[in-house]
Amino acid sequence: MLAAVLSGFCLAALVPWLQPRLGARAGWLFALLPAGLTAYFATFLPAVAAGETFRVSYPWVPGLDLELAFYLDGLALLFALLISGIGALVTLYASDYLAGDARQPRFYVLILAFMASMLGLVLSDNLIALFIFWELTSITSYLLIGYDHEAAFARRAALQGLVVTVGGGLALLAGFLLLGTVGGSYTLTELLQHGEAIRAHDYYLPLLLLVLAGAFTKSAQVPFHFWLPNAMAAPTPVSAYLHSATMVKAGVYLLARLHPALGGTEAWILLCSLFGGVTMLTGAYLAVRSTGIKWVLAYSTVMALGTLTMLAGIGTEKAMIAFGAFLLGHSLYKGALFLVAGALDHEAGTKDILEMGGLRRAMPITAVLAAVSALSLAGLPPLFGFIGKELMLGAVLNAPFLAPLLTAMAVATGALVVAAAGAVAVRPFFGPPARTPKTPHEAPWGMLAGPALLSALSLLFGLAPGLPGEGLISATAASLAGEPVHAHLALWHGLNLPLALSALAVAAGVLLYSQWGRVRGAMNRLEALDARGPEAGYERLMAATTRLAERLTRILQNGYLRSYITTTVLTLVGLVGYTLLTRYEGGFAGGLDVRFYEWVIAGLLVAAALFACSTRSRLGAVASVGVVGFAVALFFILFSAPDLSITQILVETLTVILLVLVLFKLPDFMSFSTPRQRLRDGAVAGLLGVLVTALLLIAVHYQFAEPISAYHLAKSVPLAHGHNVVNVIIVDYRALDTLGEIFVVALAAIGVYAMIKYPGGPGHRTDEDESAV
């Protein structure tokens, strides 16, 4: 199973190398991998249908409790089949759809990498691994939406999708960490066993809210639904694959997966069914309002995601069966419809439904495929979409909370969806022929194979609902329930309430479609509300973030060196000083055993340092800096460091010469500051001085460890044959360090030489080379 997940990544890595060698038909070969994976996953069908589950695990980062574990049950298998199956069709489709596009290799890389990430997501048995795959799908989705990266709207849409889903992903990570802590494990299968304890825990509600935030953003629930239609900027195969059949269902998948652990509480049922119901209705409403064919389909995807969330929320056995059936049905018809929309765009040159008409003559096969899938979307018999919708209505009628409200929303949604299906499948193909930008003709077979297969499955599963129902759908519902479920799917359930509601919805939908123009007109009058909608809120939030960043940058990075130094010093003094004053209880070094000549040197040093600060003469300042340096050298010699003293004297001499030579070329000291500023800077500098003194007194007071130089002293003569231990350390024990030091000095010398020599400028001799060591 590891190979199944990773093979997508491997092939993606090989694409840039393979594509030029295979030429235009490369897509056909790439489609073999997902097709093979579909066959591989299909071999699990009988066992999973019989209630078996599979688990394999490989250690990944054992120290972090992170393992690469895969778990295959009904839910995972349903998703894996959809991901690999539709992946194969989409890859095949793209080789015609993107024919002649120079960016094709990039498309295959991303789509294969996405497929592997998505497979990893639905098969992972570890929360952290699941999260990693989750974010990988967000990133590949970002790159695919922005495929046409030269178009500003595509870049904007890509970023919007990324910000919304990754923002939710952040919440999800926090939720997972809480879940892992509360449940005592990051392994999904173990967590699912401890549902009782998790639901009873104090952290259950925050945990639930965080996980739902992640799932709702990914699955485009209101109020985060706005990113999904914008994602239609991606090429149509991407929209068919990521933004209807697979990636956006990741959130729904998560809800279903965690249902045995988190579901069933009042908070879960209310939040999921309310958000889901509102999303369902909003999506259907907006689908009818739109005229871009991809937008209609995108909003109807929002509708479907809302329905699935609602069903996961309701959580009765009926709802779980409906969840599986609706999920499968939606992926089949929506994938097909998107591919049809792509064919229309490709062959007729327009995405606007209002610009199409009478295309059935030029594109008869496409018209038939669109009709079959649209009937499934509208929920009409004998298509599989009908069964899903009937089950959904049955589940809603028996919902534990809010049943009347949810039923009303479901019926209204049903009516709107029928109208949307008409807009997609009737309007472009019937009526008087419209003048399209391109002369329409039938799409190549590579672009027809996908929608044909998907439409055929919609029909087949509708006529023989037991085919998926007995096995896959039952197993999926069992994953949600956490116990075996037996689903019996049938076209005809007799005359019952769901059927009556369906009939009502269809009648209302047909009426709506017949008045589509007028309905849209009325809806457009409400468009002003968009200015207060969630997308406008998103825009405002992004603009405010940029403004805040600008303001902060202007304050913090203002270009004044002294402001940086002041900030750094005050932060240091504030944090360390506060800690010292409030926490430090130890002692300070004492013992003022100072000899007379040491007092003299100390006085000299202080006087010279203060003079350097206050003098207005450049030469005076340089001279007093020299005095400070020599005083330091004297201290070195007094306290047993003759080598330091020699080096210090040499370097100090060179420094003074250098300063004098260069200062000669620089202007006189200027006084730019007011006495007040000098007082302020003096205070800042004084604070640092006090802090350093205090820290040094503490540092001298303690010795935490034995110095390692005992070894150096003991081995200097026997091993290194040197009597001056300092020198031995430099050239022997730490020779590489010294090499680095020589390198730094050489680099400085080259820099100095280059700056003096170029460009032009009169050469100026600086004796900066030295060989003190």
Binding site: V594, P642, D668, M670, V744
Partner: protein, 115 residues
Amino acid sequence: MEPLMAVLVGITFATAVYMMLRRSIVKLIIGLTLLSNAANLLFFTASGLTRGAPPIIPEGAEQPAGAVADPLPQALILTAIVISFGVLAFALVLIRKAYQVVQADDLDQMKDTDT
């Protein structure tokens, strides 16, 4: 002796930072020089002060005679002295070049990359 040294180090640090807070670039250089001296002295003091016992092993002996000063901090400071000199030389020439271009001693006039 250490308390006196700690005060000296504090004063040197304070004067160095004070100079670096000036607007004149020449004063910045003076500040840098003082800062490297202050840092070296800080490290030297922190490692403990020993009078008159350099870490040198007498001729013919294998081990030092009695307690000597810790040689490792001295080696580190030696490196630091040389590096800080390299940095100073580089900074000095950089500032000279900047002055040639900007024709001003005022750091405030160098706050943008366009000048």
